[in-house]
Amino acid sequence: MNRALPETLHYLEYITGNVMGAPLKLQQQQQSQHSYLNETQFNVFSLPPQATQVQQLQDLINNDSEVRELVNQSMKSDPGLENGWPDFGKYPIPRTGFATTSSLEMDYSISRTCTSPPTVVVAERDSVLTDKMASTIGRERFRKRKADKAQNPKVVVAEDTRDKRIKGDAEEVESEVTEQNNNRETSADKSKENSMVSEVQKPDYIHVRARRGQATDSHSLAERVRREKISERMKYLQDLVPGCNKITGKAGMLDEIINYVQSLQRQVEFLSMKLAALNPRIELNMDNFFAKEMFPAFMGSFPTVGNSSEMGNSAFLQFNPMQQVVTCGLDMAINPPDMALRRTTSTSITITLQQVQPSSHWETDLQSLYNSEFLQGRSAAFPSQPFTGALEANNLKMEM
């Protein structure tokens, strides 16, 4: 078993040369800056440099859990993500980064890490920014005029006063926009309600500077709602995609998302290739497995133990009655090196050897063991000694 492991690892390395061999390859080459790869890099740094290949295997497993941890952390910020399509409406209005086109462009100029824009554009944009803002506000004013002339003379008076103010400095314009932004931030209602309120307030409070930028035009209203929806979605995507916290701005975010999706798809391809290489074994196991009619039993056990993704693994353990012993060895490898635990796992191994058809008793035993292990010892660097020792013990027992 020990001899076979390094061979299989070499074989795997040979056929992979791809993202999934990351923990091994990363030590050798410098990967490009995909955000997902950064995640795996982080995993590598957290582990000591390996000597043996058995330990590399353990680290592979370890990386799984660490990646899972990271993913869990990133997922925790969106508790209702998978189910929550109808719940999105309840979340508050996101930051004002996307609230107006002008501020959107401000964000572009502030942070451009992943995209490759011409630097000239950035410089230009800074100088042009104030003009742009004035022009947008002018445009809104124009639209407002159109709508209001049909309705309310009082509002026209308000707009005239506003015109005089707007003809002031660009700084004033900026402050107005920021005030509007602040007002939008402080109010937790949806944009429609805001504009409704502003519509009502206009005839009463002509002097109020707040909510000025919000046009009452149906077009701009719809536009604003659409923009805010999109920015909400972008926020969720930001939480989902690792490494997107520092990037604001639609283009950069989209870039990251594209990279992430592409890397995930490549991983799927690579893993399917790996499974295809192992395919003859799958055949064997499947036949054994389904021949013994364990499937209904294992289907039934899914909902019972309500613990998280380890359920999948315990299901795999039930797959191969022939190779249960070895997978119990996997079990032990993930244990923190602990004499008591080792004893219990060895007893469970003997049990499986005696009973070809594992009873539900053994299932729950193993499952509980597995769950406890995964919950406890994830980050420890596993010494190779107990693992090899366990495997040798398994071999002995198998020969018996």
Binding site: E124, L240, S272, I282
Partner: protein, 188 residues
Amino acid sequence: MCSRSSLEQEFFKKWVPGLQICSSLAKDMSFLERRKAIKLSADVAMATARDGKTCWSRALIANASKQEDKKIIVRTILGSEFERLTKSSIGSVVCEKRVRSKKILRKSCTTIRRVRKIRKSAPNRVLASSIAKRLVKKRTQVMKGLVPGGESMDEFSLLEETLDYIVSLRAQVDVMRRLANTLVLSIP
């Protein structure tokens, strides 16, 4: 996190019969074909786990069931829901037509708009904003190519679909990785 693990369990449950079929068909297939079959079974299982609620899953299943040789895999995985879920192929034809007409409209509109813009505003301003918009547009185009069935979606639903797609892709990768690891270790 129970929703995520339940997604993984769901995916795995749907995937196992697909894997069975793949291994039974594996005798006469080359390595590459086997890989494609496994990948297809995984994708279809993932899409079925979503139960037809999302656009990308329906599009994926529709695409897969169009090819005759892969139909059997799809059929086994989907089981009883095969008929219901493949009916979306009709919808996709309509969507394609809509996409084409949209594209024609867009092209004509953008040329008109571009001419107008150049005349109206100063060249500096146009450069700044239009470059940003063009970048965003390019990227949305790329994303539409990535997400299955993304061509016929507007920007907002595209973002939603991408969100869902990322979550399910992650679950898929997790399950496949774990299966591969356990099988690797089980080599005597």
